[in-house]
Symmetry: none
């Protein structure tokens, strides 16, 4: 198995200003392609440290992936140090130069010498083109080992990792096949699900393993198939997944494990129905989750974030009396909000939330963490009270997730397949 | 200055299942007490790796902090390896044993031999009591260097770090002072800012350093002051920061470097003004950024996510003719959206966005990445065209950020301090 080490360079990581998400994202991707991550390290923008870490990593690993230190300013020295380390001169790369120049032209910014220096690369390296930034990636080879340097900006790194995996597969002639398939479940506890599929688990071949990953109010079930043998792994895994779904149909939500909004979107597209949302305590987050999915304009007509009571009344038509009598965080207001946004935006389904995200604003009767969630169609209205006493961010996330799951359930009940 | 290395042990960190937040939290704490973090590394639960990493770290650092691998199960081997490394026998620590036993009694769980083994510690170590878990911390001394092992569970580690800092301060008789100050800039490129403050940089004493951290359409500029001498570091750094702000006033946004919405919120609270938002392409994300801040209900009355044209017309009052003549992604529609939401929600300021987030929906005239952003008050309307050809997520983030920055600029112009 190919052993990989990751080195993330950047003073900002060492003073703890930025959490190093690059290491875990890279590790996850590498693992899913059958590469083993031996160690990761974070060092500062220092020539000595870069050289020393490379020495250490190259002693024990087959491949070293480096991020960071590729910006145009004085404190970014990775490129210069790598050129020296691999005994190579810095030369202008025409393709990169053109790309950087057009990048600045498009932004109507002058193309200075500092910017042109972004196109300087060590002569001996193979350049990996960076379509979304100005710093290119660089591949080096030394004694049969592969060293890749990438930008540290997370989304530039993420986009480049696909290409890097390809380069690694070719370089190491990697042929271990690993497939993951993860299923999302809701409205069922871990032990009940486990009992339900107990017999099925016994039918799994030894190269397919199963893991339970509970999260908030859902369970993710991950099947991993891993082999060096020449079998149709995808077909076998798909068969097993289909058997599993048939067994657990009632609680199975979909494959988009971290994206309940995408599961809902698929349902709505297949039914050719539309959706609107009225948010109080979730403050726009449900709309954001929905619109993060490309193509959501097919079913999502919009949302109203009604933070002020005035907005609830004027835009959503919540009655003043209801607000006075029951308060904004109440079953009655939640129901009027979902009905109101469905009417105002003329949609087939609607979601509403009203609760106390905290840290302030709670009372004995309605403590921080209290929320009413409603989902509705023209035929049916559902409203549920939940209590998530946690941080503000986590409250918003859990309420949003729960609201989306409630609507999926309602749609499935109205449209049994 | 005391040099520290951090080693986080745990297979789960290497497969990317868990993001390593421990390293950044420890680094932040260490920095704020004047300890310099030289490097951090993540390794697996492997004896060889632990020994090798300790060898490397002890060569270059004065102090090594280790987390993880202290659980009761077989895969956790840190304690055993450390005992061997420091040539020490494992003995039962009475205080820890009592603590662990009462911990299990309180939870009404049986106290097994595996659990009792949590009280085994190397004879030569100084135990750090863990009030919230079963694994104790351990301090070792070797050739004038300090080695500390802590549990990997983030909240256990966080609680223990206070004690560890105390131990380090005594051990090293530490008196280094270190201060960071980070400034947020917008509407200016990195190289231009660098040119602008080039002379200022030369006036910095050698104990103050400066780093550029570009992110989306902003730049964070970090000043770090670090000294062993008995000078008023805070006063000197503040003076330098004030000089810097005076030089760059036009582009300086504030100190809340990762939260432009919070900067905007502070401005609105201090002026006692209200805000509403009309979002098309940002799909609720601006509202989410605003409402993520506790207390935002003081100034945020709500938002309309107007994905469908119908919603733009019915709720925001955008004219049908304008939509037909110029299209939804246009200067004219952006202006009508901000004016419309300001009117409908009766606020002092408003923001609107309309653009093509992609990946579908672009045309030659209006390619994916095109966006019109408008901000307005009752006195002034601003509208800008931007082009962010990137991923959907990143587009939404950059547009949202830019919109918030535009409103801060408008408010600053209307209310010069």
């Amino acid at each position: 198995m190919v052993q990989v080490e990751i080195i993330n360079i950047g003073d900002e990581l060492l003073i703890g200003q930025v959490v190093n998400t690059n290491a875990s994202q890279m590790a996850q991707k590498l693992n899913s392609y059958g590469f083993n991550v031996l160690a990761t390290s974070v060092i500062g923008d220092s020539g000595n440290q870069i050289r020393e870490s490379l020495d250490i990593a190259l002693k024990r690993a087959d491949c070293v992936l480096i991020t960071g230190g590729l910006g145009p300013t004085k404190d970014d020295i990775t490129k210069k140090i790598l050129a020296e380390y691999f005994d190579s001169n810095l030369v202008i790369n025409k393709e990169v130069e053109q790309h950087v120049e057009s990048y600045f032209n498009r932004k109507q910014l002058p193309f200075t010498e500092t910017n042109r220096a972004q196109a300087l690369v060590p002569e001996k390296c193979k350049v990996i083109f960076n379509p979304v930034g100005t710093a290119p990636g660089m591949c080096f080879e030394k004694n049969g080992k592969l060293i890749v340097s990438m930008p540290g900006v997370p989304f530039e790194m993420r986009l480049m990792m696909g290409k890097v995996i390809e380069i690694m597969q070719n370089f190491f002639n990697q042929c271990t096949k690993i497939l993951h398939k993860t299923l999302l479940y809701a409205n069922i506890g871990e032990s009940f699900l486990s009992d339900m599929i107990c017999d099925f688990e016994d039918t799994l071949p030894e190269y397919i393993s199963l893991a339970y990953l509970p999260k908030s109010n859902t369970i993710r079930l991950r099947l991993t198939a891993k082999t060096d043998e020449d079998i149709d792994l995808e077909k076998i895994l798909d068969e097993k997944v289909n058997q599993l779904i048939a067994l657990t149909k009632e609680y199975f939500m979909g494959f988009e494990i971290d994206n309940v909004a995408a599961i809902l979107g698929k349902e709505l597209i297949s039914l050719n129905k539309t959706l609107s949302v009225a948010e109080s305590c979730t403050g726009g987050y449900i709309a954001h989750l929905i619109t993060s999915n490309a193509g959501s304009s097919k079913y999502f007509k919009g949302s109203v974030t009604a933070y002020a009571n005035q907005t609830k009344e004027n835009i959503l038509g919540v009655e003043t009396n209801t607000l006075l009598q029951y308060g904004a965080v109440s079953k009655e207001v939640a129901l009027q909000m979902s009905a109101g946004v469905m009417r105002a935006l003329q949609t087939d389904y609607a979601i509403s939330t009203t609760g106390i995200a905290g840290p302030e604003g709670g009372s004995e009767e309605k403590p921080v963490g209290t929320v009413w969630i409603s989902v509705c169609s023209h035929k049916k209205k559902v409203v549920e009270k939940h209590f998530f006493p946690t941080t503000r961010d986590n409250f918003i996330e859990r309420v949003s997730n729960q609201a989306l799951l409630m609507l999926i359930k309602l749609i499935k009940e109205e449209n049994p397949s």
